[in-house]
């Protein structure tokens, strides 16, 4: 457990910590984007690049959550986690409108597999 900063500690500390160390470092990028976006042309190659980087970052988060997963997901073996993603991706590549089916099939793979593999 990270302990509260002593001179700021008190009953409101969890709220203060949330604002300082989670809300601020997240929201700052959205604010900066509003300031910068006024100077960027919607059709510019710069925006294409920015969109490509953002897409890659999201794909990167997917990979990180699968390879180094949080909480209960870590109890599921890596090949099964990858299999669940592969099922989802396979369905999406087959028909891009089947978002719901792809999500449910990936989930069914993971939960079903975990049910079989994990003791208890």
């Amino acid at each position: 457990m990270t302990q509260p900063i002593p001179w700021l500690d008190g009953p409101l500390w969890p709220y203060l910590a949330l604002l300082l160390f989670a809300v601020l470092p997240t929201e700052i990028w959205r604010w900066l984007a509003v300031i910068f976006s006024r100077r960027i042309d919607a059709d510019s190659p710069a925006l294409d690049w920015v969109r490509a980087v953002a897409t890659a970052l999201l794909a990167g988060i997917v990979a990180k959550l699968i390879v180094t997963p949080p909480g209960a997901l870590a109890a599921v073996p890596l090949p099964l986690r990858i299999a669940a993603l592969a099922v989802t991706l396979g369905i999406m590549l087959f028909d891009r409108r089947r978002v719901m089916l792809a999500v449910l099939a990936g989930e069914a793979t993971l939960i079903g597999g975990a049910w079989w593999l994990l003791p208890g």
Partner: protein, 245 residues
């Protein structure tokens, strides 16, 4: 085309956004944030802080890093930096979606409000759906869509705070995995050309490699910059001259 009174029109458009959100995405983000609620209860923070984190941070990965790092005993500065890097993607994402939402005469406060709702789901779904919405209706549509996602997510966080410990591991793991599975499905649904496909494939491949070799929370942004730049180089040219095609 018949023009209904602007007031009714605004509500009708917002309701359309709400309906589209409830068609699937709002439920998925709501389920995805159950895990955040359970992490928050794990570190002994009040349920109000868990739900507020969903409304004010509005970024699943940032919230996961925040609560999981506290549980792991990380320094506050390290937590802020890790959250900042995890959220850096909102800069390009917001820059990319604002042109779709911007209207002549729109104040900076409206844009700051709209930017707050930028997160993975509202961004991927917004980029996919907003071009089909008439420009003067997009703000209402987007706010209807995003606020619905935020409402279901707040409920999910609240439930997760009390619920997840009671679930058997396969189902808890399934809830944790809903986020990456839905992110990937949304990304593939928005595929337009080989540049997008390259960004997804390279991002998936590079992130774990960078995670291994680059420390200090910089790994994700390095992977994203490399993969995104390569994908950008591979994209088809927009204004190719007709005789070349």
């Amino acid at each position: 085309m018949m023009n209904p009174p602007p007031d009714r029109d605004w509500k009708r458009v917002a309701l359309a956004g709400m309906r589209d959100a409830l068609s699937l995405p709002a439920w998925v983000v709501g389920f995805g944030l159950i895990g955040v609620g359970s992490l928050a209860s794990d570190v002994g923070y009040p349920v109000e802080v868990a739900v507020l984190s969903t409304m004010l941070v509005w970024a699943g990965p940032s919230q996961v890093i925040f609560f999981a790092s506290i549980a792991a005993g990380a320094a506050w500065s390290a937590i802020a930096i890790a959250v900042g890097f995890a959220s850096l993607r909102f800069l390009p994402m917001t820059v990319a979606i604002l042109p779709l939402l911007r209207r002549p005469g729109q104040g900076i406060w409206v844009q700051l409000l709209l930017a707050h709702y930028v997160a993975v789901t509202s961004w991927t779904e917004g980029l996919r759906r907003l071009p089909d919405v008439p420009p003067q209706q997009r703000v209402a549509y987007f706010l209807g869509f995003a606020n619905t996602c935020m409402a279901t997510s707040s409920i999910g966080t609240f439930l997760g705070y009390y619920l997840i410990g009671a679930l058997p591991i396969p189902f808890a793991a399934g809830l944790m995995c809903l986020t990456p599975i839905f992110f990937l499905a949304s990304l593939s649904a928005g595929l337009r050309h080989r540049g997008d496909a390259a960004a997804i494939v390279l991002g998936l491949a590079l992130a774990p490699i960078c995670d291994r070799f680059i420390g200090g929370g910089f790994d994700l942004i390095v992977a994203g910059l490399i993969a995104g730049s390569v994908a950008f180089a591979l994209r088809p040219r927009k204004r190719a001259r007709p005789e070349q095609s």
